[in-house]
C-alpha cells in the first residue's frame, strides 16, 4: 500500500511539470480503449483527460469528437488531422506541424454518438473554466439556451473556481435552474424550486413550465397509484364528451365514431342496383335517411358497426380520463405549481404596471396629436380637417432634414423648429386665405379644410411617393428602459411622454402668462369687446391658428419617430384627435389631457382582453366614445357660464 502511494506521489511529482505531455501519455496508455471506444468504458479516460490540466487536452477532445484524431500506422502515434482533397495535414497533440500524409497511412478514429456526447460534456467543462470571461459567458448562454442534464456536473464543478463575481452569480443561478429540472434527487429539486421564490425571470418560467407539462390520457377503470395526476377530467363538464371520446379512440380504448365522410364513403361503396341497404339512392339526400341506410347495412353485416351514442356514453363511464404530468414525482410538480402560482400573481401586478406604461405612452401620443387641435378647435372653435396634414408636414420636414443632415441628433434638433416653422406658415396662410372668410359658417369651414386636406395629401404623395419614408431616431433614443423581464418601456416613448408634458407646460404658459395668451382669451370670449380694447382680432386669430398648426408640426416629428412617414400619416390621427378634444371637453387643455388619458387607457385596456386584435380595440373604443358623449355631451371637463359659448 505504502509503495503504491510513494509511486503515485513520485508519478505526480514527475508528471506535473510536464503536464503538456500528460494528455498524450493518457492517450497512449489507453490506446486500445481509445481506438475502440464504447460509452461504458471510455468515461474514465475522458475524465482523466479533462482533469489533466493539460492545455492541449481541450483541442484533443474537440478533434476527437469531430473525427480529427488519428493514428499514424507507421509508428502508432496519435496525431491531429485535417482532411484535404486526397491526404491529411498532420499536427502532433500539442499542435506542432508534422507535415502531411497519404490517407492510407492514417487510421481515423471514429467515435460513436454516445462517446461524442461524453466528449462534448467534457468540453463544456473546459469552456466553463476558460481563462477568457467572454468565452465562459458564451458557454453559459449556450447551456441556458439548451439545458441538458449533462451540463449539470461540469457547471457545478466550475462554480468554485469562478473568479468573476457576475459570472459566478450567473453560474449559480443556472446551476439552480438545472438542478430544478435534472437533479436525480427530488429533495434537491424541490429545494432549488423553493430557492427562487417569486422570481420574474423568463428563464425560470421556461424551466418550470416543462415540469408541469401534461398529456391527456385515458385508462379503463382508475389510474394506478403511482401516476402523477394533475387533474381528473370529467367528460361533459371539464371537456366536451365528443373530445373525451376522441381521446379514448386515439388510445385505441374504444372503436372510432362514424364520421359523416366515412358514412358517405361506406354508402357509396355499397350501392347495389341503384339502392343502398334497400333505400333508393335518390332518397339519400338527408342525414336521417343516410343514417337509416347505414343501419340497414350494419344489420346486414356489410359494414363494421359504428359506435352509437349509448355505447359512447358507456365507454366514457367506464374509463377515467386525466391530465398526467410528464414528471413522475408529485413533490416536484407540487413545488413547481406553487412556485408558478406565486410568480403569476407577481407577474399579473407587473403586467398591469407594464400596461399602464403602454397606456401612458399611447395617451401622450394622442395628447401630442391633439394639442394643436386643442388650440385651433378648442380655443378658436375652428374645425380644421387639415390638422392631420400639418402633422404629416412636420414628419416630412423631419425626413427632409435627415436627408440633408446625416447626424441624427443634430437633424432632430434642427427638425423640431423647422417643422414648427413650416406648419406655422401653412397654418397662417390657411387662416388668412380660407378660414377668415368662413367665420360664421363652421360646417363650411369643415368642408373647405377638408378640401385642403385632400389636396395636401395628394401633393405629398406626388413629391415623396407612396412608400413609407423612415425617420430615424438618434442612437441614444434606441433601446428601452428595462425594469425586469416584464416591465420595460422604450426610450422613444419616454421622450414622447416628456415632450407631451413640455407642450402641456408651454400651452399653459402661453395662455396664462403671456400677452398673446391674454389677447387670445379676450378675442375668443368676445371679439368685438376685445377689438374695442385695442386688440386686433384678425392678427390674434392668425397667430393663434399658426401656433396650433406649428405644434401639430412638431408632433409630426415625434410621431414620425416611431411610425412610418406616409402621406396618410395625418389621416390615422385626425378622428382620434377630434375625439380626444371632444371627449375631454372643448376649450379646456386639462380636458384634452383627460380625454387623451381616457382614450389611451381605454384602448390599451380593450387590447389587453383581446391582444391579437387592435382593430377591434379601436372599434369598441369609438363606440364607447359615442356612448360616452350621450352622458357627458360637453366632455369630461365642461366649461361653464359665459366661457361655454353657446
Amino acid at each position: 500500500m505504502r509503495t503504491i502511494l510513494i509511486l503515485f506521489a513520485a508519478l505526480l511529482a514527475l508528471t506535473l511539470p510536464a503536464a503538456a505531455q500528460q494528455a498524450a501519455a493518457i492517450l497512449t496508455e489507453n490506446r486500445a480503449l481509445v481506438e475502440k471506444p464504447s460509452r461504458q468504458t471510455i468515461g474514465p479516460i475522458i475524465d482523466a483527460l479533462a482533469a489533466s490540466g493539460d492545455p492541449a487536452a481541450a483541442s484533443i477532445l474537440a478533434a476527437w469528437a469531430e473525427k480529427g484524431l488519428g493514428l499514424r500506422k507507421a509508428d502508432g502515434a496519435f496525431v491531429l488531422l485535417t482532411a484535404t482533397a486526397d491526404s491529411y495535414t498532420l499536427r502532433d497533440l500539442t499542435g506542432a506541424d508534422l507535415g502531411s500524409a497519404a490517407r492510407s497511412d492514417i487510421t481515423e478514429l471514429k467515435p460513436n454518438a454516445g462517446v461524442r456526447g461524453l466528449i462534448a460534456t467534457a468540453l463544456v467543462r473546459f469552456t466553463l473554466s476558460d481563462p477568457d470571461p467572454a468565452k465562459r459567458a458564451d458557454a453559459l448562454t449556450s447551456i441556458a439556451r439548451d439545458p441538458t442534464p449533462d451540463s449539470l456536473t461540469p457547471l457545478r464543478a466550475s462554480i468554485d473556481t469562478e473568479s468573476d463575481p457576475a459570472l459566478k452569480a450567473q453560474k449559480q443561478r443556472l446551476e439552480r435552474l438545472l438542478t430544478m429540472q435534472f437533479d436525480p434527487d427530488p429533495a434537491a429539486r424541490v429545494a432549488a424550486i423553493g430557492s427562487f421564490g417569486a422570481d420574474l425571470g423568463l428563464d425560470l418560467r421556461a424551466g418550470l413550465n416543462p415540469l408541469l407539462a401534461t398529456t391527456r390520457q385515458a385508462v379503463a377503470g382508475d389510474f394506478s397509484a403511482g401516476t402523477n395526476i394533475a387533474r381528473v377530467l370529467v367528460p361533459g363538464s371539464d371537456l366536451p364528451a365528443a373530445e373525451a371520446y376522441d381521446i379514448l379512440v386515439a388510445e385505441s380504448l374504444a372503436p372510432a365514431r362514424l364520421t359523416r365522410t366515412d358514412a358517405r364513403a361506406a354508402l357509396q361503396a355499397n350501392i347495389v342496383g341503384g339502392s343502398v341497404g334497400g333505400y333508393p339512392v335518390a332518397e339519400l339526400d338527408s342525414q336521417e335517411n343516410r343514417d337509416l341506410a347505414y343501419t340497414a347495412l350494419e344489420s346486414a353485416g356489410t359494414v363494421p358497426p359504428a359506435a352509437t351514442d349509448a355505447e359512447v356514453a358507456a365507454a366514457l363511464q367506464s374509463h377515467t380520463i386525466a391530465e398526467i404530468f410528464a414528471e413522475p414525482d408529485p413533490q416536484v410538480t407540487a413545488a413547481a405549481r406553487a412556485a408558478l402560482q406565486a410568480i403569476s400573481l407577481k407577474l399579473g401586478l407587473m403586467e398591469a404596471a407594464d400596461l399602464t406604461l403602454d397606456a401612458l405612452s399611447l395617451a401622450s401620443i394622442y395628447f401630442l396629436a391633439a394639442i394643436g387641435l386643442a388650440i385651433t378647435f378648442g380655443v378658436m372653435r375652428v374645425i380644421n380637417m387639415a390638422h392631420g396634414e400639418f402633422i404629416m408636414m412636420g414628419a416630412y420636414t423631419g425626413y427632409v432634414v435627415q436627408l440633408l443632415v446625416p447626424n441624427y441628433t443634430v437633424s432632430i434638433l434642427l427638425a423640431l423648429p423647422l417643422a414648427f416653422a413650416v406648419a406655422f406658415a401653412a397654418g397662417v396662410a390657411m387662416e388668412r386665405l380660407v378660414i377668415r372668410h368662413l367665420v360664421k359658417r363652421p360646417l363650411e369651414t369643415l368642408l373647405a379644410t377638408f378640401g385642403i386636406s385632400i389636396a395636401l395629401q395628394q401633393i405629398a404623395k406626388n413629391i415623396f411617393g407612396t412608400q413609407a419614408r423612415p425617420l430615424t431616431s438618434p442612437a441614444w433614443l434606441d433601446g428601452a428602459l428595462v425594469f425586469n423581464d416584464v416591465v420595460s418601456i422604450s426610450y422613444i416613448r419616454i421622450a414622447i411622454f416628456v415632450m407631451a408634458l413640455v407642450f402641456l407646460g408651454l400651452f399653459l404658459w402661453i395662455m396664462k402668462r403671456t400677452q398673446l395668451g391674454l389677447q387670445v382669451r379676450a378675442v375668443t370670449q368676445n371679439p368685438n369687446m376685445a377689438a374695442s380694447m385695442g386688440i386686433n382680432p384678425d392678427r390674434i386669430n392668425m397667430l393663434t391658428f399658426g401656433l396650433g398648426s406649428g405644434i401639430a408640426g412638431i408632433a409630426g416629428v415625434a410621431i414620425g419617430l416611431f411610425a412610418k412617414v406616409t402621406s396618410e400619416l395625418g389621416n390615422d390621427y385626425i378622428v382620434q384627435s377630434f375625439m380626444t378634444v371632444v371627449v375631454g371637453g372643448v376649450g379646456s387643455i386639462w380636458g384634452t389631457l383627460a380625454g387623451a388619458a381616457l382614450i389611451g387607457f381605454l384602448q390599451k385596456g380593450i387590447e389587453w382582453f383581446n391582444p391579437s386584435n387592435t382593430l377591434a380595440a379601436q372599434t369598441y373604443m369609438i363606440l364607447f366614445i359615442i356612448l360616452f358623449i350621450q352622458f357627458r355631451p360637453r366632455g369630461i371637463i365642461a366649461l361653464k357660464g359665459r366661457a361655454a359659448g353657446d
Binding site: G451, N571, L615
Partner: protein
C-alpha cells in the same frame, strides 16, 4: 295634392323628363339594345353614376335641407351593398357547389351543400363555417329587406342617441365620422364574418342569369338605377315641399326657434336621418352589383366626405343640384383618374392628371365653398330670379340675423 305638388315644383317634371331622355338615349346607344356606340363598361359607369346621384339626393336632403352634415351616409350605402352582396355571393356559390356535388353518386344533403358554400366563400379568411349573419343569405327577399332595414335601424339608433343628447353642428359631423370609422374598422376584421379586407367579390355575376350577356344585364341595371333615382327624387321633393319641408328647413336655419315653436325637432331630424339612410342603402344595393366588388375601404370616412363634396359642388338645398354635382364630379373624376385626360406640359414639369386630379378637386372644393356656396346649381338661380338680396357690409346688431348696412339703406 299630387297635382298641386307638381305644379308647385316644375323642376321635378323637368328632371324626370331629362332622366327619361338620358335613359332612352343610353339604351339606344348601348351594345345590347342599340347601335353599340357605348361600351358595356361605360354603360356600367353611367348606371353607377345614377346610383351615386341617388345617394347624393339623400345627402342633400339630410344636409342641404335639414342641416345635418352627416359624414356617415356612405356607410349606409356600403351596408346595403354588403347585404345584397351576401345574397349574390351565396346564391352564386350555391350554384357552383351544387354542380360539383351533382357528380357524386349520392345526392347531396343540405348540410353538405351548406358546408361546401361556407368553404368556398370563407376559405380566403381561413374559416369554413357560415357565420350567423349569413343565416338568411340564401333568400333574396329577406336579404333585400335587410339591406334597407339594417341601415335604417342603425341610423335610427345612432340618430336617436345623437339627437337626444342635442349633439349638433360640427360635433355631430365628427360623431358620424367616428361611427363610420368604427364600422369600417369592424368590417376590416377577418372575424367580422364578411371576409375582412377581401370584401365580397364576383357580384357582377347575377345568379340565374348566366345565359344573359353582361351587355344586357348592364342596361337592366341602368334602368333599375334610373327608376330608383326617379322615385327617390320624387320622394325627396315631396318631403321637402309643404309643411313638413318648411319645418325641416326651419330646423336647418334656427333649430332653437323651431323647438320653441313647439315642434319636436328631434323627431323630425330622426325621420330625415333614417329615411335618407334607407335611400342610401337602396342606392348601394343597385350600385355594387354593377361595381362587382365591395370591401371595407369603400365605407371609410373619406367616401362620405367625398359625398359631401359632390353635393357642395353641385349646390346644396336644391335636389337637382345634388344630382348635377354627383354626376359631374364622379364622371369628371373617372375621366381624370382613368388616365384619359391629356397631360399638361408646363415645360419644366408635366402635370399628369392621374396624380394631380385630387389636388385640383381639393382646390376646386375650397374655391366653391369660398366663392360659390350655391354650387353649380347656383347658375340656375339667375334664370329663376331666386337670388337673395346682397347682404354686404357690417352687421347693425349683435345677432346673426340682424339687419346689415346695405339692407338698412334700401
Amino acid at each position: 295634392m299630387t297635382q298641386g305638388f307638381l305644379s308647385k315644383n316644375p323642376s321635378v317634371l323637368i328632371f324626370l323628363a331629362i332622366l327619361a331622355l338620358f335613359t332612352l338615349g343610353t339604351s339606344l346607344l348601348s351594345e345590347a339594345y342599340g347601335i353599340g356606340f357605348l361600351s358595356t363598361s361605360f354603360v356600367k359607369t353611367l348606371g353607377k353614376t345614377l346610383c351615386l346621384c341617388l345617394i347624393a339626393v339623400a345627402m342633400d336632403l339630410v344636409w342641404g335641407y335639414a342641416g345635418i352634415l352627416s359624414l356617415g351616409h356612405f356607410a349606409f350605402f356600403g351596408l346595403g351593398g354588403y347585404m345584397i352582396g351576401m345574397w349574390l355571393m351565396y346564391a352564386r356559390t350555391e350554384e357552383i357547389v351544387l354542380t360539383s356535388l351533382a357528380n357524386s353518386p349520392l345526392p347531396a344533403t343540405p348540410q353538405e351543400v351548406q358546408d361546401g358554400i361556407a368553404t368556398q366563400i370563407f376559405g380566403v379568411v381561413g374559416a369554413s363555417e357560415l357565420p350567423a349573419i349569413w343565416t338568411f343569405a340564401g333568400s333574396l327577399p329577406v336579404q333585400l329587406a335587410l339591406a334597407v332595414l339594417i341601415p335604417g335601424l342603425l341610423a335610427l339608433i345612432f340618430g336617436w342617441l345623437a339627437f337626444r343628447s342635442r349633439v349638433t353642428g360640427v360635433y355631430l359631423s365628427i360623431l358620424t365620422q367616428a361611427f363610420t370609422l368604427a364600422l369600417s374598422l369592424h368590417l376590416f376584421q377577418n372575424d367580422s364574418g364578411l371576409r375582412g379586407n377581401n370584401g365580397l367579390s364576383g357580384l357582377q355575376n347575377i345568379p340565374g342569369l348566366d345565359a344573359v350577356p353582361q351587355a344586357s344585364v348592364s342596361i337592366w341595371f341602368l334602368w333599375a338605377s334610373a327608376a330608383a333615382l326617379a322615385l327617390g327624387y320624387i320622394a325627396a321633393a315631396f318631403t321637402v315641399s309643404g309643411k313638413f319641408g318648411s319645418v325641416i328647413k326651419g330646423i336647418r336655419d334656427d333649430e332653437q326657434r323651431v323647438r320653441f315653436l313647439g315642434y319636436s325637432v328631434e323627431g323630425y331630424k330622426l325621420f330625415i336621418f333614417t329615411m335618407t339612410a334607407m335611400i342610401a342603402a337602396i342606392a348601394g344595393v343597385l350600385y355594387y352589383p354593377q361595381a362587382g366588388i365591395i370591401n371595407p375601404a369603400e365605407i371609410a370616412p373619406i367616401a362620405s366626405i367625398y359625398l359631401a363634396v359632390w353635393v357642395a359642388i353641385g349646390g346644396r338645398g336644391r335636389l337637382y343640384g345634388a344630382v348635377i354635382g354627383a354626376a359631374f364630379v364622379s364622371l369628371v373624376s373617372s375621366w381624370f383618374t382613368g388616365g384619359r385626360a391629356p397631360d399638361l406640359n408646363l415645360g419644366i414639369y408635366t402635370v399628369r392628371w392621374v396624380d394631380w386630379w385630387l389636388v385640383l378637386l381639393g382646390a376646386a372644393f375650397v374655391l366653391v365653398t369660398l366663392y360659390a356656396p350655391r354650387g353649380i346649381a347656383g347658375a340656375f338661380d339667375r334664370f329663376t330670379h331666386l337670388l337673395p338680396p346682397k347682404r354686404r357690409g357690417a352687421p347693425l346688431g349683435p345677432g346673426d340675423g340682424s339687419l346689415q348696412e346695405k339692407e338698412a339703406d334700401q
